[in-house]
């Protein structure tokens, strides 16, 4: 990671969001292998944020992180990548995440007001924050406010300031502000997002200035995400031009984790003929046994990466074996062939379309999603009118069920705590016999 940092000084201008084929073309140049491996780290790191700031926003042992915002956070209950990336980032630290995002909400808490005037919405927002009991608050607002264009900016800033004042006065939490993500061209839905993006940029700039003036950490997702446009038809990151799709969250999750505290997201290792490590990044060799027919290596990720999505496995391990005798070799996990290649290919390194820790990461992500769903039922239950609203005299007895969710949430938290620690796994490289390959 530290190497990656050093290296990226030279390559900070690399595009942040390249299609995989461009990356491999780039890597085919005759650069040193490890340099190549590390460049992967840069590519999926976040060069622009790295070059912009020196501080970081590391999450600490015992942190409780609240995600506060609008649909951007609300929809992650379905996807889970942001929390997965952050949980995996510090596998040994106990960190708890509570998502209190609410679609359509603003920093004044309008969507949380139910039957009452908007001020009550802000009171409820505070109540939700209280439930999350955060040491860290990650905030994203502004996407909807930007539709009010320049005219709405002053009141948005005032509302943001009031929100930050409240958080500061009522908690000791560290605050990170995420910018909204850019609007994207989506044919009929958003045929021309340019003017919307110009409006949005005003808000992003304001948020950045606000974060600076208030000493809050700022993550720019607006300027660091590449979107599909009418001319540049890349893989879309939104479903409708404004809300991220699964792939969008996949990209954003790592971007946030990198912004908080950058790391090499490229996992690469080169194993020598004798079973030693020549070079490695993000992964450790626990054990290696070399025999006549095979090399058995036991590997352990430093941290889990997000499971591949939609054919993009660029976060997976690139494995290289130096100086193998000529011939074809196949790599196996529990009898399953993961990759086959000539000694030359293995020398260059092969990136695995599937690696054993992908399943663990998937399990982690699924558990996080389930935990978040359970928490959703607790903090934002249906039938609010009867549980705590003006008909609580009729059905308020059922509000006793809300604390009961704690036990179920805690159970999932325990699983998350286990799942986020990378488990070692064993790979076997065997010579392919006969005319194979």
């Amino acid at each position: 990671m530290e190497n990656g940092l050093r290296l990226c000084r030279f390559h900070a201008k690399l595009p942040t969001h390249l299609p995989t084929n461009m990356i491999s073309r780039y890597l085919k140049s005759s650069m040193h292998r490890v340099a190549k491996l590390l460049i992967l780290g840069i590519l999926f790191g976040s060069p622009s944020t790295i070059s912009l700031r020196a501080d970081s926003f590391e999450l600490k042992e015992g942190d409780r992180v609240a995600f506060l915002g609008d649909a951007f956070f609300e929809r992650t209950v379905r996807f889970g990548q942001i929390e997965t990336a952050l949980a995996a980032r510090w596998p040994d630290r106990k960190i708890v995440f509570r998502n209190i995002g609410w679609a359509g909400d603003g920093p004044e808490g309008r969507a949380r007001a139910f039957f009452d005037p908007i001020e009550k919405g802000f009171e409820n927002l505070k109540m939700h924050l209280g439930l999350a009991d955060p040491t860290v608050v990650v905030i994203q607002y502004g996407s909807m406010a930007a539709f009010e264009r320049r005219e709405g900016l002053a009141s948005f800033k005032a509302d943001m300031n009031a929100l930050l004042d409240t958080i500061e006065s009522e908690t000791d939490a560290r605050i990170a502000i995420l910018s909204p993500t850019p609007r994207e061209y989506r044919s009929y839905i958003l045929s021309d997002p340019r003017s919307l993006n110009r409006d949005l940029e005003i808000y992003v700039d304001a948020l950045k200035a606000l974060a600076k003036s208030r000493g809050a950490f700022f993550v720019d997702l607006f300027n660091t995400l590449e979107t599909s446009t009418e001319r540049n038809n890349i893989k879309p990151i939104t479903t409708n031009g404004i809300h991220l799709n699964e792939y969008g969250y996949f990209l954003v999750a790592e971007r946030i984790a990198q912004a908080f505290s950058e790391y090499s997201s490229a996992k690469a290792i080169e194993v020598t003929k004798g079973g030693d490590v020549a070079e490695s990044s993000g992964i450790n060799l626990v054990d290696a046994r070399v025999s006549k027919d095979s090399i058995v290596i036991e590997l352990q990720d430093e941290r889990l990466s997000l499971p591949p999505l939609g054919g993009d496995f660029s976060r997976n391990l690139t494995l290289a074996f130096a100086d193998l005798p000529r011939g074809e070799y196949r790599l196996e996990f529990e009898g399953r062939v993961l990759a086959t290649g000539s000694a030359g290919r293995w020398k260059q390194g092969i990136q695995l379309a599937w690696e054993p820790s992908n399943d663990q990461a998937t399990a982690l992500q699924e558990t996080i999603k389930r935990k978040n769903e359970l928490f959703f039922h607790q903090w934002r239950p249906q039938n609010e009118t009867y549980l705590r609203g003006f008909r609580k005299h009729e059905q308020g007895q059922n509000v006793k069920e809300l604390p009961m969710w704690d036990a179920f949430i805690e159970k999932e938290e325990m699983k998350i705590g286990e799942l986020k620690k990378p488990k070692p796994y064993r790979l076997v490289l065997k010579k392919a016999h006969g005319g194979e390959g």
Binding site: A71, A111, N383, F390, F408
Partner: protein, 1211 residues
């Protein structure tokens, strides 16, 4: 029992529930079941062995084979007590079917039931004829630790025998999915906070792609969450949300907010989302008729069918200042709605609205007909009735074969507001889809949409089946838009001009174009030439959606605003509202006339209000912006109802350019909205009007009074001017002037007001006004005058009035006097004005309480006072005690604990008698009718009880009677409004707009509160129904009443029939035998009772549930000779003029007058010609005729008459 319940799961629950039939107290149910031969015949052999009684106890569903061993477990269970509360019918689908009675000529069959589905909430057929079912076992609330696992099923009838034979679980991770719509692109599902979209690319019946389509919908009440997804005629998707929901939806075009009920309109391709209309309590029914007109039903409001259009607003809406009424006030609450357009149905059913009366276990029908710009709706016969209490028709859709499909949510318990979330009687596993078809009529051949060519699909637009046309359009929308629009042009050319339906075919083409490309203006031109106003109206509606996209739109509207048919003009108003701009506003006002019907007037108001920013600046620049006739300006400003808008009219007035016809309305508006200087002008003008002996003075003065109530006004008015009007020849003018004098603090006339108030000859209205004037004055002279009037030297009527007035102006200093007033008040006096001032602050209430110490009060007076106390917004417990002490009333604690409740329910089931109970209910002393209606007849302060028994368990009814605070029906909550002066006012919210709040208090008094006086407003958990109303009843009487209430709405004698039965009457009181009055009547001609002689005192009288009006105990009056007559009156509403018929059954002879014209009776029918509007009917019935107790009156249609008439029931 709970453990057992969970352990053995649903099988046991079936048994438990089934068992409840067996008890000896269920004999009536047993009889009904035994009388049903199908049910007995189909009984499985197993149960014949066990014996008849057991078979009823233990009837299983077909899917539960292992019953016998469990029986043993059940028998040792100990909690039988709770079971007595239930009325859980046998769940066997065959048995359920045996209790369903379809209308003549129809048959009903089971299409699907559990386990192929579980609990269906919404259904939708796709183009392959498969039925998609959104269902929930989670409702009403997910249990701690549960992961959402509600499902969408795909049902298929593969062999075409009318029964589903394949069921696939399409999605299984939903949380109470409340809506579903199948389209060729995929399936839309309303699910909690999201509108979801699912695809099934490989068509295997399992979703393979999911997307959150829109999110941010509220979930404050799980039966209000977005629902009723419908494909509109032109490619848009409509869906509803209900009263408790607050939604903030992020769209690529910005945030969309909807608070409370309303209909969303979505263009799925572009995510353009707007609010189609506002309001209704819980509208689970929405459908389009052949012409794209929208109709809605309401599952919690009781006004039957509602006519909706863009911008419409109904009761309980948030954000629109006015609302429209439903078309059938007093109807039961109605869920899913379908409009019959299917050749499978007989002709007379075409166009009929089918609605689910889920409380009353029946499916009803309505017929709507055009009436001026709007429609009228008449209830017709029921399509299905049932005595099965768990039959809950909730969604209804025409199917591909032309039959009608009904989603039966199947549940003995329907609610979670009043009944606990975890109530064990909730059914969590069953559900049915029924199929209703006309007998002996062919089914429709199901078209193959997917395999059809574009040309073939276009031809399907000619189908008489609405389902076929809708599917064809959906399929065409999924095809290549360029090819479709090209082929559409050639298809249009092939239409035969002589075809009667040609314009409808063209309209379908216009809708299709709107869905795929945009409005085809050439087609618009053609269709605007149509002779059918429905076609022209629908064409304008097409332009309403995005008028800015069409440059020629305004030109079209210039033409259509002058259309001969008001519907087309109304549609133009909607479109102009959408288009906006000052030209649109000006054009809209072209449609203004003084004879606009209500619907039309609403449309114009909505437009002028919405376009304020467009036209108001123009009118300020040019007061003649709407033309020379100032009435238009008056109307337009009246739409805004705010002082800031008044100036153009004042300019007009001062220029003297307000015409004669516009003078009165202009003065009223200026009086209401003007500042002090304008008020001076208006007052002077009012004096002028009065001097000239012209009418209108009181109305102008009322406007001035409203202005003064709304905010402090103090125009400079000379004493002599006030004196002049106090001397007016009209009492109405005098009394209003008296109040104004007080309100404007013209203290120099205090003496004059005192003399008026002290004069025994002064009429009550004026006397009260004089006191009020004094009370409003802030002057020593006024206080002194009140003090004199309140002294014990004045006669008690005047004294009481003065004390009340005095208490109003300074309650804290006159608490002793108020207490004295209460002590001298007699049964006939109204103590409420005395008490009210003391209920706004706890301190005042306590003050009055201590002043009452040692005083005696009349019991009746005390009872009236206590009723008001029940819902007071402040703590009145001391005052309550003081009043009880003063009147010697013993308070009763009526709460029952669980055992007592179980015992009482058992007692009621054994001994309760609904017939006797109805008599108890009708007792004057209980005041039930004052606040509650049955079949729309009675008061509306509390919920209508029409289907109470069919929807509420008995324990709920008992609780509601004994502890009214415990359960409060939605929409009947008390709003507490704290005013800036520190006082609090409470009542049910009857209206709220941007300027004011109107609440009705427990004495049914309406109070208008200006928003500027309001400090805060909260919904408070109290009921307006005072506790203790039933305290005077013996146990058996209470049991009878509960038995009666719990029969209400169930199939049988206590179900309100769908006929137009007159239920609210007034009878002529005999003035307690006053001989002078009797003489007066005897010496007048017979028809004199039809006059409006103020001597007549007409008192309310209500029919029994079966429609019969008991005349026992009603005084009869002697008419010429010895004949004694009962005189009755009622009103009916004539919606369309023509010959109207009244069928009078019961007594063989009666005399009937329509207005003052005596009507001849032929074959028990009185037929007469009536004009539009409300019509008073007077009836005389001889006292000694047999069968007079069976008197029942119903409106009937006269053959060949175009008249439409509705009953006016109410209080």
């Amino acid at each position: 029992m709970n453990i057992l319940f969970n352990w053995v799961g649903r099988t046991v629950s079936v048994l438990r529930l089934g068992e409840e039939f067996g008890g000896p107290d269920r004999s009536s149910s047993l009889d009904r079941r035994a009388a049903c031969p199908q049910a007995t015949e189909r009984r499985p052999i197993l149960f014949r062995l066990i014996g008849d009684r057991s078979s009823l106890r233990l009837r299983p569903t077909r899917k539960q084979p292992c019953l016998i061993p469990l029986l043993a477990l059940l028998l040792v269970s100990t909690s039988w007590g709770q079971r007595a509360l239930t009325d859980i019918p046998d769940p066997d689908p065959e048995f359920q079917q045996s209790l369903m009675v379809p209308a003549e000529g129809f048959e009903i069959s089971l299409f699907a039931s559990e386990p192929m589905i579980d609990k269906p909430l919404a259904i939708s057929f796709d183009g392959q004829g498969r039925l998609w079912v959104a269902s929930t076992t989670t409702y009403p609330q997910i249990k701690p630790g549960e992961v959402a696992s509600d499902k969408v099923y795909r049902l298929e009838d593969t062999d075409g025998d009318g029964v589903a034979d394949e069921s696939k679980v399409f999605i299984d991770n939903l949380l109470i999915p409340t809506a579903i719509l199948a389209t060729p692109e995929g399936i839309y599902v309303g699910n909690s906070t999201d509108l979801m979209f699912y695809e099934d690319k490989d068509d295997d019946g399992v979703a393979d792609n999911e997307e959150v389509f829109l999110s941010g919908f509220g979930t404050e009440d799980t039966h209000h969450i977005i629902h009723t997804l419908r494909a509109g005629p032109a490619g848009r998707i409509y869906f509803n949300q209900s009263i408790y929901i607050h939604s903030y939806v992020e769209t690529p075009r910005g945030l969309r907010e909807l608070k409370a009920g309303g209909v969303w309109r979505l263009r799925p391709e572009t995510l353009e989302l707007d609010i189609f209309n506002h309001g209704l309590v819980n509208s689970w029914g929405l459908q389009f008729d052949k012409w794209g007109q929208v109709f809605q039903s309401d599952g919690a409001g009781s006004e039957g069918i509602n006519y909706a259009f863009p911008g419409a607003a109904f009761r309980t809406n948030v954000g629109v200042d006015r609302f429209m009424d439903g078309l059938n006030p007093g109807q039961p609450k109605l869920s899913g709605l379908e409009i019959i357009q299917s050749s499978q149905f007989p002709d007379e059913w075409q166009g009929r609205l089918i609605v689910c009366d889920f409380r009353g276990n029946r499916i009803s029908s309505f017929k709507v007909e055009d009436s001026q710009s709007g429609v009228v709706s008449l209830q017709k016969q029921d399509l299905v009735t049932s005595t099965h209490g768990a039959f809950r028709p909730i969604d209804v859709q025409l199917g591909p074969d032309g039959a009608l499909y009904v989603a039966d949510w199947y549940n003995p318990i329907i609610q979670h507001g009043e009944v606990d979330f975890r109530d064990e009687r909730r059914d969590e596993s069953r559900g049915r889809i029924w199929r209703i078809a006309a007998k002996d009529r062919p089914f429709v051949k199901v078209p193959e949409f997917k395999e059809s060519s574009i040309k073939e699909l276009l031809d399907l637009l000619k189908a008489p089946e609405s389902w076929t046309r809708t599917q064809a359009k959906l399929e065409l929308k999924a095809r290549d838009a360029r090819v479709v629009s090209r082929e559409l042009q050639s298809w249009l050319a092939t239409l035969e001009p002589e075809n009667e339906e040609i314009d409808h075919h063209r309209l379908e083409a216009l809708w299709l174009m709107q869905a795929i490309r945009g409005v085809d203006m050439k087609l618009v031109d053609t269709l605007l030439q149509s002779e059918d106003f429905n076609v022209r109206a629908a064409t304008v509606r097409v332009l309403e959606e995005n008028p800015k996209d069409n440059e020629d739109a305004l030109e079209v509207f210039e033409w259509t605003i002058g259309d001969e048919h008001p519907r087309v003009r109304l549609e133009t108003l909607h479109a102009l509202r959408a288009l906006g701009g000052s030209r649109s506003a000006k054009l809209a006002m072209k449609a203004y006339s003084e004879s606009m019907d209500d619907t039309f007037e609403f449309g114009l108001w909505r437009t002028m209000e919405a376009l304020e920013e467009d036209w108001l600046p123009e009118a300020k620049k040019d007061p003649s912006f709407f033309g020379e006739d100032a009435r238009k300006l008056v109307y337009a400003i009246g739409c805004l109802n705010k002082p800031d808008a008044l100036s153009p009219l004042v300019v007009h007035w001062e220029a003297g350019s307000v015409s004669e016809a516009a003078t009165l309305p202009a003065l009223e508006l200026m009086g209401e909205l003007g500042d002090d200087s304008v008020l001076e002008i208006v007052f002077a003008a009012a004096a002028e009007v009065d001097r000239a002996g012209r009418p209108g003075g009181p109305a102008i003065l009322d406007a001035l009074l409203r202005a003064s109530e709304a905010g402090n006004r103090s125009p400079k008015i000379a004493r002599s001017d006030i004196e002049a009007l106090l001397g007016s020849a009209r009492e109405a003018v005098r009394s209003r002037t008296a109040k104004l004098a007080g309100s404007w603090n013209v203290s120099s006339v205090a003496g004059r007001l005192e003399r008026i108030a002290a004069d025994l000859e002064t009429g009550p209205e004026l006397a009260e006004a004089a006191v009020e004037g004094l009370a409003l004055m802030d002057a020593e002279a006024a206080d002194a005058a009140l003090k004199r009037l309140a002294s014990d030297r004045t006669p008690s009527t005047i004294r009481l009035r003065a004390i009340a007035g005095y208490a109003r102006s300074s309650p804290d200093s006159v608490a002793m006097l108020a207490a004295e007033g209460l002590a001298i008040a007699q049964e006939s006096d109204d103590p409420l004005p005395l008490i009210r001032p003391y209920l706004t602050r706890a301190k005042l209430a306590n003050q009055l309480a201590s002043s009452l110490r040692g005083k005696r009060m009349d019991t009746e007076v005390a009872t009236k006072a206590l009723r008001l106390l029940g819902s007071a917004p402040v703590d009145t417990s001391e005052l309550k005690r003081a009043i009880e002490d003063a009147a010697g009333i013993e308070p009763v604690d009526q709460a029952l604990d669980a055992d007592e409740m179980a015992e009482f329910i058992a007692f009621t089931q054994t001994n309760g008698n609904a017939r006797r109970g109805e008599e108890v209910y009708r007792r004057d002393a209980l005041l039930c009718y004052t606040c509650h209606a049955i079949g729309g007849s009675g008061g509306s302060l509390g919920p209508d009880l029409t289907s109470l028994g069919a929807s509420a368990p008995m324990d709920y009814i008992v609780d509601s009677l004994l502890q009214p605070q415990k359960k409060i029906k939605e929409g009947y909550h008390v709003v507490s409004v704290s005013l800036k002066d520190g006082s609090v006012i409470s009542g049910t919210l009857s209206k709220e707009d941007s300027q004011s709040i109107t609440v009705r208090d427990a004495s049914d008094r309406s109070l208008v509160i200006s928003k500027s006086d309001v400090a805060s407003q909260t919904i408070s958990p109290v009921s307006l129904m005072p506790p203790g109303l039933t305290a005077s009843l013996r146990k058996d009487e209470l049991a009878d009443m509960v038995a009666f209430l719990s029969e209400l709405g169930k199939e049988g004698s206590y179900k309100v029939s769908s006929g137009r039965i007159v239920r609210t009457f007034r009878y002529l009181h005999d003035q307690d035998g006053d001989s002078g009055f009797a003489d007066l009547l005897r010496h007048k001609p017979f028809g004199y009772v039809t006059s409006e002689d103020p001597m007549f005192e007409w008192r309310p009288l209500y029919t029994k549930v079966d429609g019969a009006l008991p005349l026992d105990g009603i005084p009869a009056l002697r008419q010429h000779g010895r004949t004694r007559m009962h005189y009755l009156r009622f009103q009916i509403d004539i919606l369309t003029a023509g010959a109207v018929g009244l069928s009078v059954s019961g007594p063989e002879e009666s005399v009937l007058w329509a207005g003052d014209k005596m009507v001849e009776r032929k074959n028990d029918i009185y037929a007469f010609d009536a004009e539009r509007g409300s019509q008073t009917i007077t009836l005389a019935i001889q006292e000694d005729l047999p069968n007079k107790s069976k008197l029942s009156i119903e409106i009937v249609d006269i053959e060949g008459s175009s008249a439409q008439a509705q009953v006016i029931n109410g209080k």
